[in-house]
């Protein structure tokens, strides 16, 4: 295991140190977070508990990445 892998293992095991939202709260506010991120660029500062959750929950992080990418690149034509 390299040091980088070791650090990643520790991060995955211990998760974020900061107070964080739940998965349900994350889903509830994910659209608000993504629009703040895309349109105003201040999502992490404005919604720190949700940002922390995204660092600790791989599934919610995937959902966040999907929504951000989709609304950023634009939906394909019908």
């Amino acid at each position: 295991m390299t040091r980088h892998e070791s650090n990643q293992a520790v991060d995955r095991l211990l998760g974020p140190a900061e107070p964080e939202a739940t998965c349900d709260e994350c889903f509830e506010l994910l659209d608000v977070y993504v629009d703040r991120e895309v349109l105003q660029g201040d999502a992490e500062q404005a919604m720190p508990a949700l940002a922390a959750h995204l660092r600790g929950c791989p599934a919610c992080a995937e959902d966040h990445e999907s929504l951000r990418t989709f609304v950023t690149t634009g939906p394909p034509a019908a």
């Binding site: 889903f27 506010l29 349109l39 609304v71």
Partner: protein
């Protein structure tokens, strides 16, 4: 919320979409809007399933278009049921898309794991901790991992241990684990959060300095 801190900033983003207004209308205007919404959701579901197609490569007999349609249908039902809960803090399209992307992602994760056994085996932790021993430069990290391993074994409940290892070491998707354990994503994440907090407290009490994750 797992901890008591503000969730959102005060200033909302005003939605300029008029689809919401048309969905709340009646007659032909409403019917046309529902068709437009379903088409939007289907595009999002197709996009998500296409993006995750590699995860389904080993799953035979799965039609991506069927999956996309199922996801879009369920997302459509969810959006229509929650229409009155939309608060205008985001664009309506962003709010609606998240349902389709979520439904599609959950389906892909579950399909990708449907024939894979989830073995909740705390011994799999051995492969991580044992591999951490190495050159001098890695000594501190190896010591920390060793301490974490010891605390997982001695300080966590059996349930916390299983969930922590399955989600963080074995890489089992939380939706899949929730289905196998007849639980929910939220309940499992709460278990994971409690386990992590206990580990942090125990590590701090034992004198380990922990950096905040970034």
């Amino acid at each position: 919320m797992l901890d008591s801190v503000p969730m959102t900033a005060e200033a909302p983003i005003t939605s300029r979409d008029d689809l919401l207004e048309r969905l709340r209308a009646t007659g032909g205007r409403h019917d046309a809007a529902t068709r437009e919404l379903h088409a939007m959701l289907l595009r999002a579901a197709r996009y998500e399933i296409g993006r995750r197609s590699a995860a389904l490569a080993h799953v035979h007999g799965e039609d991506p278009e069927d999956l996309a349609l199922q996801a879009a249908d369920d997302a459509f039902v969810a959006v229509m049921a929650k229409l009155d809960q939309f608060r205008g803090e985001s664009r309506f399209s962003t709010w609606a898309y998240k349902f389709a992307l979520y439904e599609a992602a959950v389906r892909v994760r579950r399909r990708a794991w449907q024939h894979r056994e989830v073995v909740l085996d705390p011994e799999s932790w051995l492969t991580v901790a044992d591999g951490s021993a190495g050159p001098q430069g890695r000594h501190d990290q190896a010591e920390l991992l060793g301490a974490i391993r010891s605390m997982i074994d001695t300080k966590l409940t059996a349930r916390q241990r299983e969930v922590l290892i399955a989600l963080t070491i074995q890489g089992v998707p939380i939706d899949v684990l929730a289905e196998r354990l007849d639980s929910s994503r939220g309940a499992l994440y709460k278990t994971l959060h409690d386990a992590r907090r206990k580990l942090r407290l125990e590590l701090a009490a034992a004198g380990h300095e922990l950096e905040a994750t970034t």
